[in-house]
């Protein structure tokens, strides 16, 4: 069974995710950021499903292993849709949203194929390793897409505070997760590191709902920033 601290983090994170959806409804922004809220709702559903599998099959079961990694990969794909929603918002005035969405879908398919190719090539590794490897690559592609979106935000002088907060929090989330999975794949035999990374990923899980709740509560849709002043490299 996971430790008490781990279970507390799990419950805390699920409550935060419910909080994001409630805040979105309360602030009348549910439809505006539908794909982001859909991801949060899917994340709550995945948490409940994970708890069900854990209590029925146990922590060390194959069922829990597959449930954890496959729901993680599916949630990442959901987050891609969230990212595409943000692309649509940022590019809505240019009318380029369709092209961006098509490109993102192609990239997503390409990532899955590339990952399968890499794992298939390594004959000495288990095929089940695919799920851990695809998560790492999905998070990395998510990071690249977020980076491109942040570039677009700066270039197009997007000033909506909520959009800027959503994009930056996604950047932090994707980069942290990509780093965690990369470490996991680099050093798969270090059990101490694995347990540290497990906690790190649970803490990372709380970052998005915290940041999004903050964005919903603190800013309304009219709040504006000057994003060029937020860039680390001055523009």
């Amino acid at each position: 069974m996971p430790s008490f601290a781990s279970q507390c983090l799990w419950v805390f994170c699920t409550l935060l995710e419910v909080g994001v959806v409630v805040c979105a409804f309360a602030r009348g922004s549910f439809r505006r950021y539908f794909t982001l809220n859909l991801y949060m709702a899917a994340s709550v559903a995945a948490s409940i499903e994970g708890h069900f599998v854990l209590s029925h099959y146990g922590f060390n079961s194959d069922q829990y292993f597959y449930s954890y990694y496959y729901s993680d990969a599916l949630l990442t794909i959901c987050l891609y849709f969230g990212l595409m929603g943000l692309y649509s918002i940022v590019f809505e005035e240019l009318g380029a949203g369709t092209y961006v969405r098509t490109f993102s879908m192609l990239l997503l398919g390409g990532t899955a194929l590339f990952t399968y190719g890499v794992v298939h090539q390594a004959q000495d590794r288990m095929v089940t390793k695919y799920v851990a490897e695809i998560s790492q690559n999905l998070y990395f592609v998510g990071l690249v897409l977020t980076y491109v979106l942040w570039g677009a935000v700066l270039k197009l002088r997007e000033t909506r505070a909520r959009v800027v907060q959503f994009v930056l929090s996604m950047g932090v989330y994707f980069s942290l997760y990509a780093a965690i999975y990369a470490l996991r794949n680099l050093y798969p035999n270090y059990s101490n590191l694995a347990s540290v990374l497990m906690y790190a990923s649970q803490i990372t899980d709380t970052l998005l709902p915290l940041a999004w709740t903050f964005a919903y509560l603190r800013f309304d849709d009219k709040a504006r920033f000057v994003p060029a002043r937020l860039a680390v490299i001055p523009r």
């Binding site: 390594a122 930056l168 990509a178 780093a179 990369a182 798969p188 035999n189 903050f214 509560l217």
Partner: protein, 146 residues
């Protein structure tokens, strides 16, 4: 993959290594920008004369004010919505301190940038203090009413 700290240089081992380096670099950039976005929201907010007196911030805050303002913040009842942002800004402030102490010695412009940012962190904390004082006053007024 070996059991050692340096894995074999195969494609399967190199990919996570490259991803790790790029992710950490991107993380730093996104984290800095996110913290600046938190601060940006408070920069335009003027401080009341009371808070200026208490914090000793006359017009612009400096990095040395931060710890003092944080100590004052700890004396006030916590506002339910600002805990995580104050924690994030605290991490950002320490990161800036590290940048100033390490890279700042080599690049003087980086040192002055880090100092300006530290000052903005202090101003952010002062704005949070102002909010907490207002929150405490509201709570007290409610209790008096009851």
């Amino acid at each position: 993959m070996t059991m050692g700290l340096i894995p074999n240089f195969s494609l399967a081992a190199m990919m996570p290594g490259i991803i790790l380096v790029v992710s950490l670099a991107a993380l730093l950039q996104f984290f800095l920008s996110y913290c600046r976005s938190l601060i940006a929201a408070s920069v335009k907010q003027p401080l009341s004369p009371d808070v200026r007196d208490v914090t000793g911030i006359a017009r612009t805050a400096s990095g040395t004010d931060f710890e003092r303002v944080i100590q004052l913040l700890r004396l006030c009842p916590a506002h339910p919505h600002d805990r995580s942002e104050i924690r994030a800004i605290g991490t950002y402030f320490r990161l800036l301190g590290f940048i100033r102490a390490s890279l700042g010695k080599l690049f003087p412009s980086l040192e002055s940038w880090a100092e300006t940012e530290r000052g903005q962190c202090a101003y952010f904390a002062a704005v949070a203090l102002e909010r907490r004082i207002a929150f405490s006053r509201d709570m007290l007024a409610e209790q008096m009413h009851i």
